[in-house]
């Protein structure tokens, strides 16, 4: 079941710096929402608040109606949240499959005792996770790389591996932080296809931070524009692109850049 996310009056201050100012966003189950804004607008910080990596200074965050603003980050996965990072952080010495398998941590059963004794239940669950991981890799066109060490893959493929790792946690809300940054044109097209496929086959709510307006238009139901830690506007991708405030926030630069891509 896709999750419903409600961000209410969330503010975040570091020392004297106001990184986020009373942000409110409501996302209904199953929507794909774009979070757009110039560098330093606070997009990643908002993700960090939602995922529990940062504690908001004030405000509340409700995941399916449950207050999570002050829940520990390590609990969020079991509440159905998964995220990727702006800079993919994989274990470079481990294989792609091992990296993806980490995603199953929150739902694999058993503690250190049962895993060191390899109780049958752990073996069964591990095989199930492996099967799911391979299926996800296959869907992302990465089945061939399952046993390749991650450091032998390109940056673009790392992003795909990271997406598979997040999906293996069986999320109901997925936060993607600049998933297309640094991807080639072909890779972006492929990524758009992958997310479209996910929408059909998985019951997911997705929030995407992205500068690539082509991708945002193609994938999102709605966009929220952030600038200097405040919400500038909210609407469809087309509305956002024609809004003079948005164009100004970007100084015309990145919007036009990415539209041509």
């Amino acid at each position: 079941m896709a999750a419903e996310l409600s961000v209410r009056d969330v503010s975040l201050h570091f020392g004297g710096v106001n990184v986020l100012e009373k942000i409110s966003i409501d996302i209904t189950a199953g929507q794909v929402v774009g979070l757009v804004g110039p560098n330093g607008a606070g997009k990643t910080s908002l993700f960090n608040c939602i995922s529990g990596h940062y504690q908001p200074s004030s405000g509340s965050i409700l995941l399916d109606g449950i207050e999570t603003a002050h829940a520990p980050a390590s609990r969020m996965a079991s509440l159905g949240l998964a995220r990727t990072f702006q800079h993919p952080a994989l274990r470079l010495d481990a294989t792609v499959l091992e990296n993806v398998m980490l995603g199953a941590h929150s739902w694999l059963p058993g503690g250190p005792m049962s895993w060191s004794l390899r109780l049958p239940a752990t073996g069964r669950a591990e095989r199930e996770a492996r099967g799911e991981a391979l299926a996800l890799l296959d869907r992302a066109g990465l089945a061939w790389a399952a046993n390749v060490p991650a450091d032998e893959l390109s940056h673009g493929l790392h992003k795909g591996v990271e997406l598979c790792r997040a999906l293996l946690s069986r999320p109901r809300l997925l936060l993607l932080d600049e998933p297309a940054a640094g991807l080639s044109h072909g890779e972006v097209e492929k990524f758009i296809e992958t997310i479209r496929g996910l929408r059909i086959d998985f019951d997911l709510t997705v929030v995407i931070v992205e500068h690539h307006m082509g991708l945002i238009s193609a994938l999102t139901d709605r966009v929220v524009i952030l600038d200097h830690g405040a919400k500038l506007m909210e609407g469809t991708a087309a509305e956002a692109q024609s809004d003079p405030r948005v164009v100004e926030a970007y100084l015309g630069k990145e919007v036009t850049d990415d539209e041509s891509a």
Partner: protein
């Protein structure tokens, strides 16, 4: 597929040969060699613990000798009071584990140097404590025990019997540890070492897994203490010596960090290099050991365990870079592999700060 199979059979065969060697060796060797083999088993278990906390989980631990000493003292106390040996072994696991866990609950929030300092304190505090409580420990003189002699039905000499006992304990410890580091828990350890932000995002609490790694490490240190007493039949405050901890860290790195086979190689190094160096020139043991240490680290920065890979790289040419679907015949296209490079954004610091 063929290659994987060949590899697997090769591994099984190697394992079988290794097992037979381990079983036959004490029957055909001198007491001296049996003693060295037994010591390798002892320190393999101590190193296994160290590797779990340091190699697999990435937390500095410079206090493993304290748990070795603690285990040895618990064993000596139990033996002198004629407790059941299985019970003694269990206590040698549980008490050091509890002590390690308490220390870790306080220390695991720290990182780097602060954490190193706490772990250094363990042997430094442990040695005067051991001297002080002499009715338990025998004080500075240490304590001698006599136990684990070969039963008559076995037809073995004491050294052979003791070897089989410590070998059995070591094998059990290694099998359990190998299972642990391969699955859910091992992946959690690895991501705590690699990136705590990602660990959190995947539902892994770095704090909990650091405490767990320290606890297991202390447990194995204590068990190694029992094994140590079984072989040496004597322990003193010297067993806790801080330099033992340092040498164990060196041996772990030399054998191969975060590797089961590397742990065994590290133990062989730890026990045998001083012996070999002593035979080459007994007044220059430390110097020769140091030279070997530097040579291994220089030639094999990932430890002795990386020797086969290193050799095949030297022989087989360069390592694949930028692997792509083209490496595999089944894949549809290779167009997506061009690496456009990572654009640096002003937020490169975010992940570190998010921790």
């Amino acid at each position: 597929m063929d290659k994987i199979f060949a590899n697997r059979w090769l591994r099984l065969a190697a394992l079988a040969v290794f097992a037979v060697l381990l079983i036959v060796a004490p029957l055909v060797s001198s007491r001296f060699i049996n003693y060295q083999l037994s010591m390798i088993a002892v320190f393999a278990v101590a190193l296994l613990g160290l590797n779990i906390v340091m190699g697999y989980t990435g937390q500095v631990s410079l206090g493993q000798s304290a748990f070795l000493g603690l285990g040895a003292y618990i064993a000596a106390y139990g033996v002198r009071n004629e407790w059941n040996l299985v019970l003694v072994l269990l206590l040698c696991a549980i008490i050091p584990a509890a002590v390690g866990m308490l220390v870790a609950l306080a220390a695991a929030r720290l990182r780097g140097l602060a954490l190193a300092m706490i772990t250094i304190a363990l042997p430094i505090i442990g040695i005067p404590l051991a001297r002080r409580f002499s009715e338990f420990t025998g004080g500075s003189q240490g304590t001698t025990v006599s136990f684990l002699g070969a039963p008559d039905w076995s037809g073995l000499a004491n050294d052979q019997w003791q070897y089989y006992v410590v070998l059995t304990i070591a094998v059990v410890a290694f099998v359990l540890a190998r299972n642990l580091v391969r699955g859910r828990v091992g992946r959690a350890f690895a991501i705590v070492k690699e990136n705590e932000s990602v660990a959190l995002a995947m539902g892994v609490s770095p704090y909990r897994y650091k405490v767990l790694a320290f606890t297991i490490s202390s447990l194995l240190g204590g068990v190694a203490g029992f094994m140590y007493l079984a072989i040496v039949q004597f322990t003193s405050p010297e067993t806790m010596n801080f330099f033992t901890s340092i040498n164990l860290v060196a041996a772990m790195v030399i054998g191969g960090s975060a590797s089961i086979v590397g742990t065994i190689l590290g133990a062989i190094y730890y026990v045998l290099v001083p012996v070999v160096a002593g035979q080459v020139n007994s007044s220059r043991t430390a110097l020769i050991s140091g030279a070997i240490l530097l040579a291994v680290l220089f030639l094999l920065p990932r430890g002795l365990v990386s020797l086969p890979r290193r050799m095949s790289l030297l022989i087989g040419g360069t390592r694949r870079r930028g692997a792509s679907p083209r490496d595999d015949q089944n894949s549809p296209d290779g167009a997506s592999t061009a690496d456009p490079g990572t654009p640096e954004t002003p937020t490169a610091h975010e992940e570190r700060q998010a921790r």
